[in-house]
């Protein structure tokens, strides 16, 4: 069964028919070619497919595409403008928070929303805010450093 939805993806509005069983992850990767959205588990355990919907983050692998109807979706492809990287992107590079990079776009989405909230975060609160993400390369150390610095800037 298909349903017509209208959504904003990285600022551009689009109306399209989607299979009601399709996940948002499949829609973003297969229809919109937004391959920053990574599938690490397909069941909401690892956070690699995290995207921002309006003003919250979701694991797009367990979020149906039809639920994004009349909503705005943002992926890591939207974070930079041309060559200009966002503060969080800059900090991830500078602090060495990127290794294999598979978890990076998803974590950046959570970090971006934290930054946009304007709230202050202690180091423990940063950990808590990022606890939906798994990373096997970094031990999280430099990710926490990067997010902390990005929030201060």
């Amino acid at each position: 069964m298909k349903k017509t939805i209208t959504l904003k993806v990285n600022g551009k509005e689009k109306t399209l028919d989607v299979d009601v069983r399709m996940s948002l992850l499949e829609l973003l990767r297969d229809t919109f070619n937004l391959t920053s959205v990574k599938q690490g588990c397909g069941e909401g355990e690892c956070g690699a497919c995290t995207v921002i919907i309006d003003d919250f983050t979701v694991d797009s692998c367990v979020y149906l595409a039809v639920w994004a109807d009349r909503r705005s979706v943002r992926t890591a492809e939207s974070l930079s403008e041309g060559e200009k990287l966002s503060v969080m992107q800059e900090m991830f590079i500078e602090e060495g928070a990127v290794q294999c990079g598979f978890c990076t776009p998803g974590i950046l989405m959570t970090a971006t929303l934290m930054k946009e909230s304007g709230k202050k975060y202690s180091r423990d609160e940063i950990r808590r805010a990022l606890s939906g993400h798994l990373c096997r390369c970094t031990g999280y150390q430099k990710i926490i450093d990067a997010v902390g610095k990005g929030l201060e800037k």
Partner: protein, 766 residues
């Protein structure tokens, strides 16, 4: 010696592509007409397929073909990512069929479906019906070795994949124990664990218009994949092309051929159309590779003052259902066993690698050394405790001596910073004060400090070949294009190799570019990413190539400037006078002419291969402080620091990143991770990221990394192994801190609350 870029925290070459989402991993690359494959996996652990019914699956819309063991008879191959050996006796064990009707683990591959889309492939797999005859299954190597056990691979007696002995010393081991004042014996168990790299295994293969088989795959070993595929399908090497895109982590899981051989067979069945095999997380944990689960019987004889005079270790490693890396991993434990500590009279090692009906064990970060180090370092704390000695002092007394030849004659011990690592570690954690402070505790919350040491080889020489290729093309404007066969898998080798090229030529790091994909049609020959070898082995090849182009630029520059090239140098991309560093011309003046000067044009390039016949040891220490809650069994690591002698550190930022990641992986090993099998059925119980517990950000303490920088003369810039070593010593350091805190000598991992609660109860603490 002052360096311009080596030793600096240069930004990773791939970082911008990764933060913008532009980096392309295997599943991000799409092709028109892509087909998708699904695998039917056995639901029993050991037995034989007596019937397969694929008719319903084949009748489905969108299913192209279903392949069964009958279709693939005779295709048997080795899977391990080792360099080839010209000696047939040294080659990897070929025990892997493409598909099997002889089931050796739960999840063994029996049939494959090719379909137009992933959902159809998955649905068709569910419609395949298989009947079995079941055999007894084995989840313990010592059970599988017993007389009368069913042979998991016909003809492999007692299921022993490999067995070796190493004996060193001036007297036989029993006599040496006889001369000891005290003899200590322990048994330690380390569980099978899984890599859990964030990107699952994924491959697609197709046949191009020139009859070339092209394999795009998430691998650590592109050139080895090419060799094994060419040999398996009897194709000329020139008709096999392997492309490695950006890789989402490997840790050894991808130092093996898991999907590529089948993907090639399937594209051949589909007329050369691209066929993708993209494993689920459940498949990746259960059915790819794991770290070997092991049991260690360890025995040490000491004099009254704590000096070790005899050491003996017997290890049993489970290979799981297939040989994969064979006996190499247990074998490596044997050579490591005699390297960190010495015994006055005798050392002996005996190792067995044994087939069981568990997930196939293969390479995993540090290749057997975390297992043996857990046994040795835990055992040493038990001994120190029994002798009422300080565990650090006991170690220092028995460490192998600086400058001494390696007992097995394989490696040099020229750069040796272990003692300084211990000193720094003790100072960091406040060792002497806290060993005293925590020695008399009561109550349910207790603290302790522990440490553990290790040594680790850099590469695989002399057991196997060490060779690497590099090519450099200098563009018209002096830009440097570096091409390597080394495989960037997330560890940062591309960045390090660019730093080495820039340093050696004399250009800024920013002027060097590297292609993130490896392509066996164009990338120089290199055996790949394993054994912490790339900065050392591939780095030497890059340095050699860079020296060659540097000479060519200077020679051309000398002619142009009417000077002798020996008077010139290259600094910051300029030709300068060596003696006063005054700038003459930018190198672009020379390189532009090298392309277009009518009489003499000859672009500046180099293409080299470099073999290394050396293998320096890197060393390190973990110090850890824990807080133990006796009532809940929970262990909290409140402070932990790794101090490494990995020679000169080429990039402090990426080096720290490697250390943190290795520490985190070892903390998972220590506290939470273990692959669980149902003792009644042999089925996997926790093959997903919810039940298989890798450390989350909330489980991970602040991680500290520090270095003792020695300078290794055989290396390109003084460096030694760093990628794997950080994951060796944290687990035993935490275990020893728990011993200090509670007096409970843990003998198996993980030290999760359930196991520790039982241990504390048994010890009468609660």
């Amino acid at each position: 010696m002052e360096f311009k870029t080596v030793g600096k925290g240069e930004k990773r070459k791939d970082a911008v592509a990764k933060v913008t989402g532009k980096a392309k991993y295997t599943a991000d690359l799409d092709m028109r007409g892509m087909l998708y494959a699904g695998i039917f996996r056995s639901t029993i652990a050991h037995g034989r397929v007596v019937s397969i019914d694929t008719s319903e699956a084949e009748a489905m819309d969108g299913v192209l073909k279903v392949v069964t063991p009958e279709d693939v008879r005779g295709y048997i191959f080795p899977t391990s990512g080792h360099p080839f050996s010209l000696d047939p006796a040294q080659r990897d064990i070929a025990d892997r069929p493409l598909l099997t009707d002889r089931v050796r683990l739960c999840g063994d591959e029996i049939a494959a479906v090719i379909a137009e889309d992933e959902i159809t492939a998955a649905k068709a797999v569910k419609k395949i019906k298989v009947g079995y005859e079941e055999y007894p299954f084995y989840l313990d190597p010592e059970d599988a070795m017993k007389e009368g056990a069913v042979e998991i691979h016909e003809g492999v007696k007692n299921n022993i994949v490999g067995h070796n002995r190493i004996a060193l010393g001036y007297s036989d081991i029993d006599a040496a124990f006889g001369k000891s004042d005290h003899v200590f014996e322990d048994v330690f168990e380390t569980p099978p664990v899984q890599h859990c790299q964030m990107e699952n295994q994924v491959t697609y293969a197709y046949i191009d218009g020139n009859d070339k088989v092209v394999i795009v795959t998430s691998t650590q070993i592109p050139h080895i994949v090419r060799r094994i595929i060419a040999n398996l399908y009897k194709l000329p090497y020139g008709k096999v092309r392997v492309i490695k895109p950006v890789i989402g982590g490997g840790f050894g899981n991808k130092q093996d051929l898991v999907l590529e051989p089948l993907a090639v067979f399937l594209t051949m069945q589909a007329g050369g159309r691209p066929v993708m095999l993209n494993l689920t997380r459940e498949e990746c944990i259960a059915c790819t590779r794991t770290r070997h689960g092991m049991r260690h019987y360890i025995k040490t004889g000491v004099r009254k003052d704590g000096r070790i005079i005899a050491r003996q270790l017997r290890s049993y490693g489970t290979s799981g259902a297939y040989a994969s890396h064979g006996h190499a991993i247990v074998g490596k434990q044997g050579s490591n066993f005699t390297r960190t500590y010495s015994a006055e009279l005798a050392s002996s090692f005996e190792g067995f690698t044994v087939y069981t009906n568990m997930s196939t064990a293969g390479a995993m970060r540090a290749y057997g050394i975390p297992q043996v180090t857990f046994a040795v370092e835990s055992h040493h704390d038990n001994i120190a405790e029994a002798l009422s000695m300080d565990p650090a002092a006991f170690r220092e007394m028995n460490l192998i001596k600086e400058g001494s030849p390696d007992p097995l004659g394989h490696v040099s011990l020229k750069s040796y910073g272990l003692k300084e690592c211990i000193r720094k570690g003790k100072e960091y954690i406040g060792w002497d004060r806290k060993r005293q402070l925590y020695s008399m505790q009561s109550g349910y919350i207790r603290r302790g400090v522990g440490l553990a040491c290790f040594s680790y080889a850099t590469g695989v020489w002399p057991h196997l070949l060490e060779i690497s290729g590099a090519r450099i093309v200098v563009d018209q404007d002096g830009s440097v294009q570096l091409q390597v066969g080394a495989a960037e898998i997330g560890q940062g080798s591309d960045t390090i190799l660019c730093q080495i090229a820039a340093e050696t030529i004399g250009v800024p790091y920013e002027m060097v570019d590297i292609e993130p994909f490896t392509d066996t049609d164009s990338s120089p020959f290199d055996t790949g990413a394993y054994a912490s070898r790339q900065s050392y082995v591939s780095g030497q090849a890059v340095k050699k190539a860079a020296l060659e182009v540097r000479e060519k630029i200077l020679e051309r520059g000398g002619k142009k400037l009417n000077m002798d090239s020996s008077e010139l140098d290259i600094v910051d991309g300029n030709i300068v006078v060596k003696k006063d560093l005054s700038v003459l011309v930018p190198i672009s003046d020379i390189t532009l002419a090298s392309y277009y000067e009518k009489e003499t044009a000859a672009p500046i390039v180099s293409d080299v291969s470099n073999r290394i016949n050396a293998n320096p040891l890197s060393f390190g220490v973990t110090v850890a402080e824990v807080e133990v809650d006796l009532k809940t069994g929970k262990i909290k690591v409140i402070d932990i620091c790794n101090i490494h002698d990995s020679g000169k550190i080429l990039n402090r930022v990426t080096a720290e990143g490697q250390v943190h990641g290795g520490m985190s992986m070892s903390l998972g090993y220590a506290l939470t991770e273990k692959m669980l099998y149902d003792p009644e059925t042999g089925k996997h119980l926790n093959n997903n990221l919810l039940d298989y517990k890798i450390p989350t950000i909330l489980d991970t303490p602040e991680l500290k990394a520090d270095f003792v920088e020695t300078y290794e003369e055989t290396a390109p810039y003084g460096n030694k192994a760093l990628g794997e070593p950080p994951t060796v010593s944290p687990a035993p350091a935490v275990r020893n801190a728990v011993l200090h805190a509670t007096g409970v000598a843990v003998s198996s991992l993980p030290m999760n609350p359930q196991n520790m609660f039982d241990a504390f109860k048994k010890a009468g603490l609660i």
